[in-house]
Amino acid sequence: MRTIKALTVMAAMAFLAACSSSQQAAVPASTTVTPGSVADFKQNVGDRVYFDTDLSGVRPDGRATLDKQATWLKQYTNYPITVEGKCDERGTREYNLALGERRANAVKQYLIAQGIPASRIQTISYGKERPEVLGSDEGAWARNRVGITVLQ
């Protein structure tokens, strides 16, 4: 376990070193919304990433979204953010609260790795208490296993 802790510290240092110099160009904004607005973030960047059943690792499709989020957030630095973690209804209440926290944290760590300061990011879990989508099929469940980046 001690080895793992040491690795985490090394990794965190590596993240900071790697990301401090990597400013990228912002994604071109659509014409229908004001660039830098909440609507801009939701429509042109994408505010959410999805997770596999019972898992909390960011999937490749989610990484692309989070890369775009990081770029946008670095351009518009006035927003603190809260990452909301949620789960589908196919788990128990308490475990899902913890799983939602783990998902929100996975998003947070990814954004930190992309250079967003940790102090800008809060997390909150809603477990299965506040589903995004109504429905009780795999389609609905897949969209309720989600991490949502909310601009404050």
Binding site: I4, L7, A11, A14, F15, A17, A18, R63, Q109, Q114
Partner: protein
């Protein structure tokens, strides 16, 4: 048990070599390929630690089950040897598939049962050990008729089947094992009855019946010992069950 220890050892070695690799590779990898790579590797590492934790738990559990099974068998052998020494004859053990079965005469429960029932059972069992299968058959049958609720009744029913099986009277053996499986399904002898019922059907040439009997094993006895599970697997292979 040695096999399980070995398995555990191998798993731990994989874990440590993974850790070692990461410790050496991480710093250079991080600067060369970026933080996403490190992130990935850490997640993979976390995942493999979790998987290994689950495997170790499963193996420890199986190991413990196996130890309990071995302890049971040891008690059983002690009992048999004790019986032989008391009898002074040390007669031949029943030969053939019957002796190879995972079945065992009951150990500790006898204290609670009545004298006459105990006597009848042990006389029958002694006869079986001595190769007097007809005598054993008679007394085991008398036992299950007279004491169907006795703690030893499932065992007597099973050994009744064995006393036919040993004489290659497979038709009667089949009936006895089927009866044992049906009536005493939840007893400790349940899995043994199912195994021997399948084996008897196979000897009678009813392979598909045998296979369907074997296929019920996992469902009926999810907590069967590994030895019993292995015996079922062997028999399924032997009979080319799908």
């Amino acid at each position: 048990m040695a096999g399980f220890d070995l398995q555990l050892g191998i798993d731990m070695k994989i874990l440590f070599s993974t850790l070692l690799f990461l410790a050496l590779a991480l710093p250079s990898a991080a600067s060369a390929q970026g933080s996403a790579y490190v992130d990935d590797r850490l997640n993979q590492l976390q995942q493999s630690v979790t998987t290994l934790t689950g495997q170790v738990e499963q193996l420890q559990y199986q190991n413990q089950q196996l130890q309990q099974q071995m302890e049971k068998m040891r008690t059983d052998y002690d009992f048999r040897i004790d019986q032989l020494e008391k009898g002074g004859k040390g007669g031949p053990r029943p030969a053939g598939p019957a002796a190879a079965g995972p079945s065992a005469p009951p150990p500790a429960q006898q204290a609670a049962s009545t004298g006459s029932a105990d006597d009848l059972y042990h006389t029958a069992f002694k006869m079986f050990q001595d190769g007097d299968y007809a005598g054993a058959e008679r007394d085991f049958r008398a036992f299950v008729q007279r004491y169907p609720k006795h703690v030893l009744a499932p065992n007597a029913q099973y050994w009744l089947g064995e006393s036919y099986y040993a004489r290659r009277d497979y038709q009667n053996a089949m009936t006895a094992f089927a009866e044992g499986y049906k009536v005493y399904k939840a007893s400790a002898k349940g899995p043994d009855n199912l195994l021997k019922l399948g084996m008897t059907l196979a000897v009678l040439g009813r392979k598909s019946d045998a296979c369907s009997v074997f296929s019920r094993f996992t469902q009926d006895y999810p907590r069967a010992t590994d030895l019993q599970k292995r015996r079922i697997d062997q028999e399924r292979q032997r009979n080319n069950c799908g």
